[in-house]
């Protein structure tokens, strides 16, 4: 107990200036790339080859770019939901399951609408069903939290597996497509509910992502709901004092997060896969947690972080061609987040030398 510490970590009280924050992030990114390179070298691969393959796979061609953008949509939507719930300091670890349950809802409508339903009706109905599905799935955890105080981290996490297995059951059982040769697929949803690709293989989901991002920004800036969530998240007792009902806040925050993840599921079905299937998401809902944290919950930053992470995911697939393990992409995702968070955290402190006489009392 009597160790003298010549150095002390001290919190910096002032908010960082914009330039400082940018420098910190750049340092974090460089460190991440170096750590990733070290790992590649240690496993006997040339980091330059690997990184260039990764970059080519992510942004190297029109095809790569459109794939990256399309994958950024579900990641970004889930991340915006997670950030929304975190305004009230609620942890939604269940975006993946909510995405699946939203996809289930969307497919339920898209498969059984009359094929002659006009597109202006069919597509909104499918998307709405997705939001309802995802919202409902999150509502289970929200209600348990609001009325019974059950920890939402555990419930949202565990409900993931229920939703994923439920979809697996549907596509191998009652909803399986007889024409899919025992692949775990449902039949395609009606053609009028599929928007197709608007531009060079990019589907219109990116518009929804940008709209959701602007929506969260507006909610933060100027809305009673956003204000109430922030108060409840910052000081529950102050919320009670200010007439904010904590149950309503919990229900709205988690259900809203679920609805956004469910919307992501519906967009995946309508825009990309056209059908419900096992393995619909390669972990979008989990990557979204990293993205939300990387962007520190900021709505516009989430869109960019989602593009970077979907690039890493997309480029990871391309690595296989260069016979480098695709896990490199996953490793970089993790190292990047750790380095960014470390950079942001260390940025809040400064190291000060403490004269020896001022050591332990």
């Amino acid at each position: 107990m009597n160790l003298t510490m010549p150095f002390r970590l001290e919190p910096v009280l002032d908010e960082p200036r914009r330039g400082q924050a940018a420098i910190r992030l750049a340092v974090g990114a460089c460190v991440a790339l170096l750590v990733g390179a070290a790992l590649l070298l240690a496993s006997g691969y040339d980091p330059v080859v690997a990184y260039s393959a990764l970059a080519r796979g992510a942004f190297g061609s029109m095809n790569a770019i459109s794939g990256t953008i399309n994958k950024a949509v579900p990641i970004g939507l889930c991340a915006i939901g997670i950030a929304f719930a975190y305004r009230a300091r609620l942890w939604n670890i269940g975006a993946e399951g909510q995405l699946y349950f939203g996809a289930f809802g969307a497919a339920g409508v898209g498969l059984f609408l009359p094929p002659s339903t006009p597109p202006v009706v069919a597509l909104p109905l499918v998307l709405l069903a997705g939001m309802l599905g995802g919202g409902l799935w999150a509502f289970i955890a929200a209600a348990l939290k609001a009325y019974r105080g059950v920890n939402e981290i555990l419930t949202t996490l565990m409900l993931n597996y229920v939703a994923i297995l439920w979809v697996a059951y549907l596509v191998t059982g009652p909803w399986s497509d007889p024409l899919a040769y025992s692949f775990p697929y449902s039949a395609p949803i009606i053609a009028n509910a599929q928007p197709g690709r608007v531009f060079a293989g990019i589907h219109p989901g990116i518009i929804v992502l940008v709209a959701a991002s602007l929506g969260l920004w507006w909610l933060d800036r100027s809305s009673r709901l956003g204000f109430n969530l922030r108060v409840a998240g910052d000081a529950p007792r102050a919320a009670l004092y200010g007439g904010v009902n904590h149950r309503t806040v919990t229900l709205v925050a988690l259900t809203g997060a679920g609805a956004l993840a469910g919307l992501a599921g519906a967009i995946e079905i309508a825009g990309s896969t056209t059908r419900l299937q096992s393995g619909l998401s390669p972990g979008y809902g989990f990557i979204a947690i990293l993205v939300a944290w990387l962007a520190q919950g900021r709505p516009l930053a989430i869109v960019f972080a989602a593009l970077i992470y979907s690039g890493l995911l997309n480029g990871g697939f391309a690595l296989q061609v260069s016979s480098i393990p695709p896990a490199t992409g996953t490793i970089l995702q993790a190292v990047l987040l750790l380095c960014f968070l470390a950079a942001a955290t260390f940025g809040k402190y400064r190291i000060r030398r403490v004269p020896a006489s001022q050591g332990s009392p």
């Binding site: 100027s222 709901l225 204000f227 922030r230 108060v231 910052d234 007792r237 102050a238 200010g242 007439g243």
Partner: protein, 501 residues
Amino acid sequence: MSAFKTERATPVHPLVRLRGVSKRFGDVLANDGVSFDVPRGSVLALVGENGAGKSTTMNILSGLYLPDAGQIEVDGQALALGSPKASLAAGIGMVHQQFRLVETLTGFENISLAIDRGRFLQRRSADDALRQQMHDLGFDLDLTVPVWQLSLARRQQLEILRVLSAGARVLALDEPTSVLSPIETQGLFAIIEKIAASGRSVVLISHKLSEILGVARDIVVMRGGRVVHVGLAKDSDPDSLARHIVGDRRFTTEARPATRRGDVVLTVDKLSVADHRGARVVRDVAFKAHRGEVVAMIGVTGNGQTELMETIGGLRKPLSGRIESPQLNGRRHFAYIPAQHLGTGLAPGLTVRENALLGRQFLPAFGPWLRRRAVDANAREVIARFGVKIADNAPVRRLSGGNLQRIVLGRELQDDPKLIIADYPTRGLDVASAAQIRSALIAAAAAGAAVLMSSEELEESLSMATRVLVMHSGAIVADLPAEEADLETIGRLMIGGREAA
């Protein structure tokens, strides 16, 4: 362990002797030359109002605070000051109001933590010496039960036993009866008497004079950081002690607003409230507040005032009873200044501008999209009302106590509320801030609001109030017009005495 039995040939020393102990916190002289003796084998009661300096003295004795001046002798030996270790070694044991027990461990494991330090393997069950001690001192405790299953009275016994097991010869108890029922209090006093009979000394900090006179032999009264009276309990009566506690103080009544009672704006009827442990802390309280009144809620801290105000303000649900207060769409539509500003009245992580909106965000003027112009104007008015000089986008946690309270008050007094509930509105503030806040409340009452306030300072309450409610043990024991309230009567009522016939 048996040091107290090896009495010296000439036991002339008192067990503990304090001489000229002084301690200053900023501008406040918390202890000013405190001197008294704790005789061997007896119970000494240390009494006084909140802020009289009792806790500071005890914290100095137990080594938590380093005094600026003074000496302490234990058994005639000088005590190394400012060292909890030295105090412990000298046999000074403290039982705080908040128990320091590990709830998931059993009673014995908690004791073992204190006495078996440095042992490699922890002992699992009590040895004969401990059992003998429990028997001798009348402890009624099952040491094999986890602490969380024990009642508060049992936990307190365990805490005392632990301190004694660690070798305490002087046992200091801070407000020990505040968590106990009358019967449990009797049990505690029986134990205390046996502890004293065994040659140890007990220092009892308490507000409840009636109890103290039954168990203590010596009485030390503190006021304003000084010892103002030392005497024997058998020579004391509650009235004279109350005079010592309150002192010979005067207050001016010029500040009182002219009384013109208006309509009733607050009705409290048969209200009972439980604290977070489920203990009833407000019992069957009923009163009304009229416009133009300043009603002072007076009582020693911890007698239910804050819980009562929190219930009126909507922070607590009552067990039973009725409250009628101004409401708008099912929400509070009156001013409420809670006892704690940061974390209750203000959200520490939000900006001043946002905090200026807290509780007002539902008003139709702002709308669901919080109209920017209205929000900005609101923030400007709240900041300007009491002249806070701060940017409205600063996080509120950086502000000083006085400015925090000015923001809360500025916000709550917007729109001229009909009712103002102010729980300790001037606590912890500097003189200028306190005066500013007092005059704002008086002005509001003069303009026709009903003000219900609590305060730690009697003079403050009496100088402002038009009516006085005295609370003791969760009940309103007196409801007097201010003209009939004098310090002595109120001092006696506060500590559980009867009203003078």
